[in-house]
Symmetry: C2
């Protein structure tokens, strides 16, 4: 008995993570009833971000410019390269404030079953990067999951074959824990305690 | 260090009810990383709903047509009129399936301090409606808050002066509610309204 447009809005909100039917309904009515301007702002922000945010040429992180702000920053140490699976991992590490080097964002992990191979993770680009000799420490910060470990192993071998020293974040990250949900303190300790592997 | 467009998207998500910084970040990255098509669908649904959903000429509920589906339905009893504060109240009552009459949606409650008077709630329209004699029971279902009660009182007087019978939803302990967690106001009303069994 509800307006079809309101129904569609509720369905669309249900696409978001953790949003069930009840929350979706609340959001839809909130925007219509209390904050239509906020709704327009949200719609525009979604379209703008999806249309204009691409990937950094150097680290593959999300960026609306060819080279992202971190890669372009003269304040970052250019001889440390931290390998993470996703952009949200970068956000988590940046929030800890412990790390001043650069990143390489895989945008996933090796998963033969899903057809995700080294090229999909930009590993040829990483290989080029290691070849130019600027990186003196490659820090593996993939998730401690089966796929994350397999990906780390693959990159470790690649780096070792090119004589690039490799470290791995210290234990302290709980087994099966996902980097993006780890608190800053734990992350800081994991960085400080990293070891050669 | 994040892309300004991603920051703006996170800020816009934070406008939604119950969404804090962490959830907003998760939603923003989820749309970019995993579901850009879903994001476009959400943006379009927001804009469509805000642009095209207006109010029903008869009951003031949200509607994209002049007369909403409930008011236009031949299946509804036209002699019962239930007064609610908001469209979400209509949704809640419709979900219970208990009521087959029509609604009148105030889109708020009387609040002199915020400058909300009878005209803002469409009460002249309600008066016209009562005048035409079709309504034989007006059901007050405003919220049991100070403002809701004051609004109910105002409408009660209006209906009585026009010889329209008025009822009020029963107040008491909710189904499954545990006595020890029920507030004393509700308990008082439950006592006052007790019945022989
Ligand atoms: Zn970059
Ligand atoms: Zn209507």
């Amino acid at each position: 008995m509800q307006s079809p447009l309101i129904n569609e809005l509720i369905e669309a909100f249900k696409l978001l993570p953790t949003i069930g039917p009840k929350s979706a309904q609340r959001m839809a009515y909130y925007l219509l009833q209390n904050n239509p301007n906020g709704g327009k702002r949200l719609a525009e922000a979604i379209v703008e971000a999806i249309d204009k945010v691409g990937h950094c040429d150097q680290c593959r992180n999300f960026s609306e410019t060819d080279v992202c702000r971190i890669c372009a920053s003269p304040a970052r140490k250019r001889d440390q390269l931290c390998i993470v699976e996703t952009p949200t991992d970068v956000v988590a590490i940046e929030q800890s404030g412990i790390y001043q080097g650069l990143y390489f964002v895989l945008m996933g992990h090796l998963s033969p079953i899903d057809g995700v191979g080294p090229e999909d993770l930009g590993l040829p680009l990483l290989e080029e990067r290691l070849k130019d000799g600027e990186v003196s420490e490659l820090i593996l910060a993939t998730n401690p999951t089966v796929e994350g470990e397999a990906t780390a192993h693959y990159i470790h071998q690649m780096a070792t074959s090119m004589q690039v020293p490799v470290t791995r974040l210290a234990q302290g990250i709980p087994l099966g824990g996902e980097l993006e949900y780890i608190d800053s303190g734990t992350l800081s300790q994991a960085f400080a305690g990293r070891k050669a592997v």
